[in-house]
């Protein structure tokens, strides 16, 4: 028997049964049906599962749900309602960053957290914030450019 777990996700309260050690990733995907957050490695090596907890980018595949009760969780489905998330999404489309797109939920979450914390990141800021996110299609050149464009507010 588990006590119901209560999380605040994208501003909504969600209540569900899950073991306390269950990673947030599987709660999102398999319990709540929010499949925008992706499974890539399960060991925080690829960043596909990145979400925001209190505005910071974290890997949901190794984050037990018990650790995020009473925290504000934001996922890819809702990041467009944040100023940095909306800018990142727009730049991603303006520059056609995306290929298969599977890693891009995580890339966008990582980039949005970066811009929220550092409004004008330089190349080393981008490297530090984004090196944990693997893109097998190799879209890195455009990711870098899109982050700069989102930061500058310029149009493509």
């Amino acid at each position: 028997m588990h006590m119901a777990t209560v999380l605040t996700i994208n501003g909504e309260t969600k209540s569900f049964d899950a073991p306390p050690e269950m990673p947030l990733l599987w709660v999102l995907r398999d319990v709540l049906g929010m499949t925008g957050t992706k499974f890539g490695c399960g060991i925080a090596q690829c960043g596909a599962c990145t979400v925001h907890v209190d505005g910071k980018a974290v890997r949901s595949c190794v984050l037990p749900v018990s650790a995020v009760e009473n925290r504000a969780i934001t996922t890819i489905e809702h990041v467009g309602s944040t100023p940095s998330g909306a800018k990142v999404q727009k730049a991603w489309l303006d520059l056609e960053v995306i290929q298969c797109g599977y890693c891009q939920s995580g890339q966008i979450m990582a980039a949005a957290a970066l811009l929220a914390a550092t409004s004008h990141p330089d190349d080393s800021d981008i490297d530090a914030a984004m090196a944990g996110n693997i893109c097998r299609c190799g879209t890195y050149v455009r990711i870098r450019e899109a982050i700069k464009q989102a930061a500058s507010g310029r149009q493509s």
Partner: protein, 722 residues
């Protein structure tokens, strides 16, 4: 409903991006339950002139995609080709995944509904242009007949037929039903490329708006009512079987529903992936490892080296190779490439619901009809009782040209009466792949007057074709494994190519992005650099002197030489390397600039590729594919190697099977040259350019001629001798 399965992007171009990505791309999403819907191709009440075009009375234009979207942009490019000749309103085009049907949707290059070998645009170019033009002609005929005028006096543009003389216009929707009863013209004319209005534009992709907000649905995202989740452990030794399974602890865990024991793997079904994973960890499994439990990579290489010394089957022979090799300055080298895993970001998966009289599958596959027929066998049902719902693929790279994950999921789903989503962990995905084969490529050549007078090239390695597509393995030659060995850009008067089929002990092999030319382009371009040095010539000058019959190749080489600053001075231990390749009917020249530090670590400084791919249907996609392909190939050159010990793959996840990351990726410039030639392939091509260009940059910087991948840093430390 068909609408649920189509990509609506009405507002994308007209309404701007802000509304575009809110409204666009209604790929299978139903409120909170993203249950994908089988693309039921209803033609009732529609103009349906062929398998690809559906126009209803409102003018809604749905294009059915015979090839799958795995990031390469083909949904947009295929739509562009159809819409161009159809004179459709591009802003209103919607796309839909095709159902499995080789007759309707088989790639003309294979006769099979497969996406691979950079063949989507190449093979479909003419058939889809004709399909679009035929549909357009029928719509024009219908309008002309309604107006009582000659079809030749009418024109069409942006989804409307116009009669200039009377100023009348009719939208495609208004004539759709009448068009259905028109006789299709024989030998319809297609447009002169100078009249293209969609092809050649840097089009916004149709699939990307829903990839920025979590709405895009990949196979792994399928959700069905009552569905459970499973994950698997396959015998770690290739060919091994399940022995004994003690599931007493696992079945007691909360959320674990069932343990399924198959011949060679065990699955745990649970309420979610976490329960399934915990259940799997709690199993005590004894494996019958079988005869392969002692195999090591070393054994495999010993076998391959031995096999490669045999004479091969002759794939091509021009001139007199024996005589020509007997004179001149002789060169001999062997190049060796490792096993590689695909590591698509979306781990392999399939969701299956087996009922007594049917089997329904939700997955993302490159090989629709084979999935359907193999699932039918596994389910024990006729093919027409198997429904396959295809999805966007989170990377394919050749892994999803195999049906193994679907077969396993069907066998698991047969044990229960509810739908099961089976997801491989990253570890299982990497350890139970079909691997890019190990290859040993030997090149023997002779130089006379500073040019290659004789070129003998022997490829040795696994034949993927012999297993996957037997018609392409004839008289001992795998046409893929020697693809870019035969298709040389250079003027080699005496030219001889052989192939030795050598299957690695126990390790399954498959297609890997870049396919056969992966080994060929690497060996050829490494050897060309070594020969240039032997001849005392600059690598680009040396190549140029032997490209006299290949103006497209020569033009891109000259272009990249100019743009890369070739020949300009560089700091110590920095080098530039070049690669030219005519593969997949695209002509690409690439220069990589790299720095090698004192301990042999490599820093990529700059990459530039010049590409002549013929008519670039979507030039921005061509650039993107080369950018990404370069990273894919360079990842392999820098890190990629799967090794075997005790019959098991030793790598398991991204910590020990490394990928290039953003901090390692340099500036990449891709120049797409204008061309009126038929389109070439582009998805595979960039992959092949990176490894030899980087290797040649290292050769230039250090004098060390590497002949194996991945790059061994130990050989490159300062002070190491060339």
């Amino acid at each position: 409903m068909i609408t649920d399965n189509s990509v609506s992007r009405r507002s994308l171009l007209t309404g701007g991006l802000a509304t575009g990505f809110l409204l666009a791309f209604h790929l299978p999403l139903r409120a909170a339950v993203n249950e994908p819907v089988q693309p039921v191709d209803t033609t009732d009440g529609k103009f349906a002139p062929n398998a690809f075009i559906r126009i209803d009375e409102t003018g809604r234009t749905i294009l059915i995609m015979p090839q799958v979207e795995m990031g390469q942009g083909t949904y947009t490019s295929i739509s562009a080709v159809l819409a161009e000749e159809l004179d459709a309103d591009w802003s209103k085009v919607e796309v839909q995944h095709a159902p499995p049907n080789d007759k309707l949707y088989g790639n003309p290059a294979f006769g099979l509904q497969a996406t691979g070998n950079s063949n989507s645009i190449r093979a479909w170019w003419t058939p889809l242009r004709k399909a679009g033009a035929t549909a357009r002609a029928m719509l024009v005929q219908a309008a002309a007949s309604q107006w009582g005028v000659e079809p030749a006096s009418c024109s069409a543009a942006k989804g409307e037929v116009a009669h200039a003389a009377s100023g009348r216009k009719l939208g495609y929707g208004a004539v759709a039903l009448a068009a259905q009863s028109q006789t299709p013209p024989k030998d319809v004319a297609v447009k002169d490329p100078k009249d293209f209005v969609i092809i050649g534009q840097p089009l916004k992709r149709l699939d990307t708006p829903d990839k920025v907000n979590g709405k895009a649905v990949y196979g792994i995202d399928a959700i069905l009512p009552g569905m459970k989740f499973a994950t698997v452990a396959a015998c770690p030794v290739f060919g091994g079987k399940v022995g004994k399974v003690d599931d007493s602890a696992a079945v007691k865990l909360p959320g674990v529903r069932k343990v399924v024991v198959l011949d060679d793997m065990v699955a745990v079904i649970g309420d979610h992936m976490w329960a399934a994973k915990k259940g799997l960890e709690a199993l005590q499994i004894e494996w019958n490892e079988g005869p392969n439990a002692k195999i090591t990579t070393k054994d495999i290489w010993e076998d391959l080296r031995k096999a490669s010394e045999k004479d091969g089957a002759v794939a091509k022979s021009d001139g007199d190779i024996v005589k020509a090799l007997a004179s001149g300055d002789k060169f001999e080298a062997a190049y060796e490439l490792p096993f590689l895993a695909h590591a698509s970001m979306e781990p392999i998966n399939a969701t299956v619901h087996v009922k007594p009289d049917s089997c329904e599958i939700w997955t993302g596959t490159q090989i629709m009809t084979r999935v359907q027929s193999e699932a039918a066998k596994a389910a024990g049902l006729p093919i027409d009782k198997v429904i396959v719902n295809n999805h966007l693929l989170g990377g394919g790279f050749g892994r999803k040209l195999e049906p193994d994950m679907v077969i396993a999921a069907v066998k698991i789903a047969k044990q229960v009466d509810y739908p099961v989503k089976v997801v491989w962990t990253r570890e299982e995905d990497i350890q139970h792949d079909v691997y890019r084969p190990v290859y040993r490529d030997q090149i023997t050549a002779s130089l006379v007057d500073g040019k290659v007078a004789a070129w003998k090239y022997k490829v040795a390695g696994s034949s993927v074709m012999a297993r996957w597509f037997p018609p392409a393995f004839q008289k001992g030659v795998d046409i893929d494994a020697v693809d870019a060995a035969i298709d040389t850009p250079y003027d080699f008067a005496n030219f001889h190519v052989e192939y030795v089929r050598a299957e690695p002990l126990s390790v399954p092999t498959g297609f890997w992005r870049g396919v056969g030319p992966n080994n060929n382009v690497f060996a050829v371009e490494c050897a060309m650099d070594e020969l240039a040095r032997k001849a005392g010539k600059d690598p680009i000058e040396f190549r140029r002197s032997m490209l006299t019959k290949n103006p497209r190749m020569l033009a891109v080489l000259n272009h990249v030489a100019e743009k890369s600053g070739w020949g300009q001075p560089l700091p110590p231990r920095v080098g530039r390397g070049v690669c030219v390749q005519p593969s997949f009917a695209s002509f690409i020249a690439t220069v990589v600039e790299a720095e090698i530090d004192d301990i042999g670590e490599i820093r990529l400084r700059r990459i530039i590729s010049v590409v002549d791919t013929g008519i670039a249907v979507n030039p921005d996609t061509v650039k993107a594919q080369i950018e990404g392909g370069l990273v894919f190939g360079l990842t392999a050159a820098l890190y990629g190697e799967i090794t075997i010990e005790k019959g098991r793959v030793q790598q398991s996840n991204f910590h020990d099977y490394r990928m290039m990351r953003i901090n390692e990726t340099p500036k990449i410039e891709v120049i797409v040259v204008k061309s009126g030639e038929a389109p070439g392939g582009i998805g595979e091509a960039g992959v092949n350019a990176g490894p030899p260009a980087l290797r040649n940059a290292i050769y230039a910087a250090t004098g060390i001629a590497l002949r194996r991948l991945p790059i061994d840093r130990k050989l490159l430390a300062a002070g190491k001798k060339a």
